[in-house]
Amino acid sequence: MKALLFFVIIPLAAAFLCALAGRRIKYFSDVIVNLSSLILLLLALNVGPLAAAHQVSVYKLAGWMPPFGISLVLDGLSSFMLVVVNLVAFLVMVYAIRYMQEYTDKWKFHALFMLMLAGMNGVVISGDLFNLYIFLEVASIAGYALVAFGVEAEDLEASFKYAIMGSLASIFILMGIGLLYSYTSTLNMADISSVLSEKQPGMLITLVSVLFLTGFGLKTALVPFHSWLPDAHSSAPAPVSATLSGVFIKTVGVYALSRVFFNILGAPPKVLFILMVLGVVSMVVGAVLAIVQDDIKRMFAYSSISQVGYIIFALGIGTPLAILGGLFHLFNHACFKSLLFLNAGAIEYSCGTRSLNKLGGVGAKMPVTGAAGFLGAMSISGIPPFAGFWSKLIIIVASLQAGYFGFALIAVLVSIITLAYYLKFQTFAFLGRLDVAFREIKEVPLSMKFSMVVLAGICVAAGLLLLPEFRNFLKMASDVLLSGAAYKDAVFGAIR
């Protein structure tokens, strides 16, 4: 299982090489970064069958036994997340070849992006709680800097807000880790879980849960803690927003949250209920606020809050079907939200504005962008043949099965609101009369088209993941969450 370590080493090496030679040699950083993200994608696709064969495989770093050393754990959930993260990262990198051309010092962008990717991969494969925290910080700090990459006043403001909220979240998480360490005297996740299972649950675990919920909730931008997300995700350059919204909040937020609560703390029912409520609230608030936005990227950012609400809601229900639906929605959302942000970036690249009131009729001039945007918007708002429909359907059916009729009704209503604001986006941006100012606009360059077309293709085809042949990909991931505290036995079994 040495391959796992390369998920961290390759992006780190790429980032450091960019810093070393990116300024001197002109296209060096482009080549290095695209090459390494391609390698990572291939590795991620390769590692999936391995996870299927072994259920759980553990790599002991430098040969130390897990409670003493750090172990990397590959199970269904991490291989699923690896595929999502590296797929989006690769496509975003291809897109950024031309898009980031207009920014100065592109190699800094590349280095920071690779550090962020290393952080996300590190979070996903780590089997050690403190190690997870550090990689979360690697990803976050690179993320704060990337949000401010345009160095305009708005970017800096958004980045500052994000940095303060994000580091507050990290500190809460660190406090939780410290308390858990004192209580269990170990840092390995499986080991913590096995120590906790021998003790009576008390006030301390509640305090730890509160700290983790606040911390990861801030990182995920669940509703009481969401204020930073619309600013940060709309001010960043388009490739960065696509990554932040598409995979970042899911890796450091949803993945870490579910790993901690399901596999370490053993999915306590109270926490699940809170997650469900938070999910529903995020769903509603995000959707309602998205309607009134004029800025395209801001609308998408609020839509992210709403859609992540769906995922958290599904995880909170906690039945097998719901978790499957939640993870499927996570995959879909990663694809269509990054597609939509790239699309907004393409519109901004050609037209120079993101305001819905000023745009109009762009679809005629930019057919590929228009078509991709249409597919993404239809998929996210849950129109039948597309992937988004199936994942929302599963979540709603699961909540009906579990007996939460009210929440299911809200989910349906929110889906309708979602359709409404995406139709607004379609009509105002692509359809209608072409403004005089945009007579001269051209379709975006090839590399940008390529990413959008591939992502649109995935949006259409992702529904096939539910077919029995491909279903295992999702099934393995949801099994890990479902097994709850049995995770420790699987990991200990794999060590021996």
């Binding site: 700090i141 305009e152 940095a163 500190i171 406090m175 410290g178």
Partner: protein, 112 residues
Amino acid sequence: MSLYFLCFVLFCVGLYCVLRKRNIIKIIIGLGIIEYAVNLFIILIGYRTQGRAPILDNKQEILNMVDPLPQAMVLTTIVIGLALTALVVSLAVRIYEKYGTFDITKIRRLKG
């Protein structure tokens, strides 16, 4: 126990500063205070009464040594704190250049 609680009080002083102050530099200072509190807390939980520093000596028997693992953890978090402080201060300096103020209630170009 009382030490742990005092550590939490320090944590809350910093939290109050971050939540309620309007000056960017004050917010950064508040974050620094919170970080100190957490670092101190992690070291406190690893302390052993009458313990020795975790540096081995060939001549002496190893007995009663404080827990070295929290120290390794805090070494890492101090570094993270430094990187974060540097980044946030540079953001603050740039914000001052653009807006001419450190007041977060006036730095409101983004709405919603």
